[in-house]
């Protein structure tokens, strides 16, 4: 299977934030890595999650299904502030976000500090 490199970092803004830094192509062969890591941190208590796509040059619908899964898992938590935000997706990923209507529901940031402070 294709492999993603995923690193998790913790940030402190008004609220504690978990950042998933992903590098590689997110496609049908690799998205399971992202699903597993995201569910792992959510089950461990993460409620405010940023998906850092700075080093993701390609994403297919498999990546958007992962995004959907993470978003729904966070929405299902007891916290009203729990949600997913995106950091620095490529122009192509932004275009696809609009095509499938995800841009209405998931906020996009170009600066990590601003993304953390937005929770």
């Amino acid at each position: 299977m294709g492999e993603l490199n995923i690193r998790v970092s913790q940030m402190e803004g008004k609220l504690p934030v978990s950042v998933l830094h992903v590098s590689g192509d997110i496609d049908a062969s690799s998205h399971q890595d992202l699903d597993n890591k995201a569910i792992e941190i959510i089950e461990a208590g993460a409620q405010h999650v940023i998906l850092d796509l700075t080093d993701v040059s390609y994403m297919s619908s498999a990546g958007f299904r992962s995004m959907h899964k993470i978003h729904v898992a966070l929405q299902a938590s007891a916290s009203e502030t729990a949600c997913l935000k995106l950091l620095k997706p490529s122009e192509e990923i932004r275009r696809l976000m609009k095509t499938i209507g995800f841009d209405v529901h998931i906020s996009i940031y170009d600066d990590l500090t601003r993304a953390v402070d937005a929770f």
């Binding site: 496609d27 049908a28 297919s60 498999a62 958007f64 959907h68 899964k69 209507g101």
Partner: protein, 152 residues
């Protein structure tokens, strides 16, 4: 300009998606497609092949034959497989932008992206068994003509 063809045969393995994307990207670059058009057809072919591997062949293994033909007015990608016959292009849910993601089913986005990123997507059940998908992108003047007609 005559019709030029390139082909690639791969096994139905998700690990081959990167190879398939590279092949499509290379052919599209050679004919001078815009970066937007290259991204679009690369994505459409990736989505279609992922569907063939996951939903067509499933746990079985088989081949996918990819043929790209380019002429003066269009780039045509033909995907042939020997999986069980099914029209994956029909599985397109209506998506409303304002529907909360928690109320949406996660499936169907791939087919939507295939249709959104090609000028024409057609399914054929092959007479001897298996499936054929034909993905077409119009080039140059004809693309502008068709797209402006869509807007009107």
């Amino acid at each position: 300009m005559g019709v030029k063809s390139s082909s690639l045969k791969v096994q139905s393995d998700l690990d081959n998606l990167a190879l398939i994307r590279s092949f499509i990207e290379q052919v599209a670059e050679e004919i001078g497609l815009s970066s937007l058009a290259i991204s679009g057809i690369r994505l459409a072919v990736d989505e279609a092949c992922a569907n063939i591997i996951i939903h067509g062949y499933g746990s079985e293994r088989g081949d996918i034959d990819i043929t790209v033909s380019t002429g003066a007015n269009e780039m045509v990608v033909i995907l042939d497989d020997n999986a069980h016959q099914y029209d994956s292009l029909q599985e397109t849910p209506a998506i409303s932008r304002n529907t909360p993601l928690s109320d949406r089913l996660p499936g169907g986005m791939g087919v939507m992206l295939i249709k959104q990123n090609t000028d024409r997507a057609k399914y054929l059940a092959r007479a001897g068994g298996g499936n054929r998908l034909i993905l077409t992108c119009f080039l140059g003047d004809i693309a502008e003509l068709v797209n402006s007609a869509d807007i009107l």
